[in-house]
């Protein structure tokens, strides 16, 4: 009996081990098949479009054997069955989707959910453009990325996530910044473009490029607690420039890295972008063209506003436009919008070197006990996140009104010393502190100096444990 029991458990263990191995091998095969599909498709993408669905993973005979006129494979029928069951979607819309190609520009807050849904729903070829790397402060909203990918290119991370959801579609990685030099070449490879970028010059550039190439554009944006969504350049509808011929002033351009954003807000807009792209690709329903959706998270309100049609005077898509591919290549979008295409914050240089000190110098002065006042000009809600000891928070916007507070703080420091107290100004990155020092010097605070690079440089050069945000 005992030997029998031993034998049985040995066999069971062996079965388990073999099953594990089998699973590993199957996983490896799937992975290799996906790779093969991608390798094979790159040189002849046009031809690939129609075939990509059944390449590799399933024998191509099955569709013919089952006499399926729509060309969906058995695997596809099962995978997308819930789409096929929708009377208003069905086989026709799904096979349209499988034959379509969509480019998502930006794998961030908007691009994350858009890409996940587009991959899942069976878009035949899905392109991703991004040049950033995954950072810890992305994780609260860029849900396509996982902690394991921090420091790695977003395109790699997003592509891996899409492939793990759907290994039967083609995912194309464009690991580069979109510029006028490469935009025509990249966008021309796709049927539909999804703008999931985070800055004004990119939005103008992508819209213009879509007009020149005749591609519909699904444009989404999110900031703070608000989101916007529109489909541009669709069947004679308006383009981004028809609505906004004049770019917003730089002061009105806000970034998530400055103004903040509630993570789920771009998530919602990104999902809606996926929805609009799916509608256009599958030729179902009424795309949001000529209308703009405004999402207000705090009041839980969605408004849809009818917007203007195509403008006859539009510089890019109007009646007498001469705007063409060459104009596009030569157009300077950073100059036009006066803001950079990259998301990196601007570095101001307002002050002369003798009006500034480095964070290391400031540290030395604190250690030596120099009498001084440190004014932190960040907004109050920034100050609440983290601040340097004994700093006085006077936001830049209320600086002029609160000068007396600085004067009295200086006086307090000067008590018992023969020389005057110094005045230093700090902010997050060293731009607002320069503006503040300029203002202070104009108001008679001749000793005011700013700390170069702000708290960011303090964290980099003085105290690596200082929390950054």
């Amino acid at each position: 009996m005992e030997s029998n029991g031993d034998g049985a458990s040995r066999i069971l263990r062996e079965i388990e081990a073999l099953k594990d191995e089998k699973a590993r091998i199957e996983e490896k095969i799937l992975d290799l098949e996906a790779q093969l599909q991608e390798e094979a498709s790159l040189p002849h993408q046009q031809q690939q479009q129609n075939e990509s669905v059944c390449n590799g993973c399933c024998p191509s005979v099955s569709a013919a054997d089952a006499n399926l006129a729509h060309g969906l494979t058995a695997d596809s029928i099962y995978r997308y069955s819930r789409h096929l069951l929708l009377p208003s979607f069905g086989v026709q819309a799904q096979s349209n989707l499988l034959k379509s190609s969509i480019l998502v520009v930006g794998a961030g807050g908007l691009g994350s959910p858009a890409l996940l849904y587009l991959a899942a729903c069976g878009v035949g070829r899905l392109g991703i453009v991004d040049h950033d790397v995954v950072e810890l402060n992305n994780m609260h909203r860029q849900v396509i990325h996982t902690e394991a990918y921090i420091g790695q290119p977003k395109v790699k991370s997003a592509a891996a996530a899409c492939r793990s959801i759907n290994s039967t579609i083609q995912i194309v990685e464009h690991e580069q910044a979109l510029r006028t030099s490469n935009a025509l070449e990249i966008l021309s490879q796709y049927d539909i473009v999804v703008d999931a970028t985070d800055n004004a010059p990119s939005r103008y550039m992508i819209s213009d490029c879509c007009v020149v190439l005749g591609k519909p554009l699904v444009s989404g944006a999110a900031l703070g607690l608000e989101g916007q969504l529109t489909v541009y350049n669709y069947k004679g509808g308006p383009c981004y420039r028809c609505l906004f011929p004049t770019p917003p002033p730089t002061s009105a351009c806000q970034r998530c890295s400055d103004s903040g954003v509630l993570g789920v807000v771009p998530g919602i807009i990104g999902c809606l972008q996926a929805l609009e792209a799916i509608k256009i690709a599958s030729d179902v329903g009424e795309p949001l063209s000529g209308r703009m959706l405004l999402f207000d998270a705090l009041s839980a309100r969605i408004r849809i506003v009818k917007i203007r049609g195509r403008s006859l005077q539009c510089e890019v898509c109007g009646e007498n436009t001469t705007f063409n591919q060459q104009h596009f290549k030569d157009f300077d979008y950073e100059k036009f919008t006066q803001s950079p295409l990259s998301t990196s914050p601007p570095k101001l240089k307002l002050l002369a070197p003798d009006s500034r000190i480095t964070s290391k110098e400031y540290k030395e002065r604190v250690v030596s006990g120099e009498p001084h006042v440190l004014v932190d000009v960040r907004p109050e809600h920034h100050y609440k996140i983290v601040s340097l000891p004994k700093s006085l928070n006077i936001p830049l916007t209320s600086l002029e009104a609160r000068l007396p507070e600085i004067s009295s703080a200086l006086k307090e420091q000067e008590e018992g010393t023969r020389s005057g107290a110094n005045l230093y100004v700090i902010c997050r990155r060293g731009n607002d502190s320069q503006r503040a020092v300029e203002c202070l010097r104009n108001m008679g605070f001749d000793l005011a100096k700013d700390i170069v690079g702000g708290l960011e440089s303090w964290a980099n050069d003085v105290d690596p444990n200082f929390p950054m945000y």
Binding site: G227, A252, K306
Partner: protein
């Protein structure tokens, strides 16, 4: 400033014209316009026959920083695209929509 902070009741702006008929409109602010005014909406009384441009002028007078985004907004009257020459009627809803760029 006559505009009170936002609560359940809409803040109201002082009537521009004291004599003659006037109309009451509701102004909705979005994105940057919301930051500038600190309001999501505002009830405003303007003389009848006023255009959306008149309303905008009035708003810029009240919130001077609105001027910087004035030429980069979508205007909607009762959720429909409008131009600055459209005449506002009583109980109209004027939406001021600057573009958002973030993502």
């Amino acid at each position: 400033m006559e505009v009170k902070t936002e609560g359940d009741n809409l803040p109201t702006a002082t009537p521009v014209v004291k004599d003659g008929p006037s109309v009451q409109i509701k102004v909705l602010f979005f994105a940057k316009a919301r930051d500038i005014t600190g309001l999501t909406e505002l009830s405003m009384e303007v003389s009848s026959g006023s255009t959306t441009q008149d309303c905008l002028n009035e708003l810029v007078a009240k919130f001077p920083s609105l001027d910087e985004i004035r030429h980069c907004i979508v205007l909607a009257l009762n959720e429909e695209y409008t131009t600055e020459s459209a005449v506002v009627k009583d109980k109209d809803e004027l939406a001021i929509i600057p573009p958002i760029s973030g993502g």
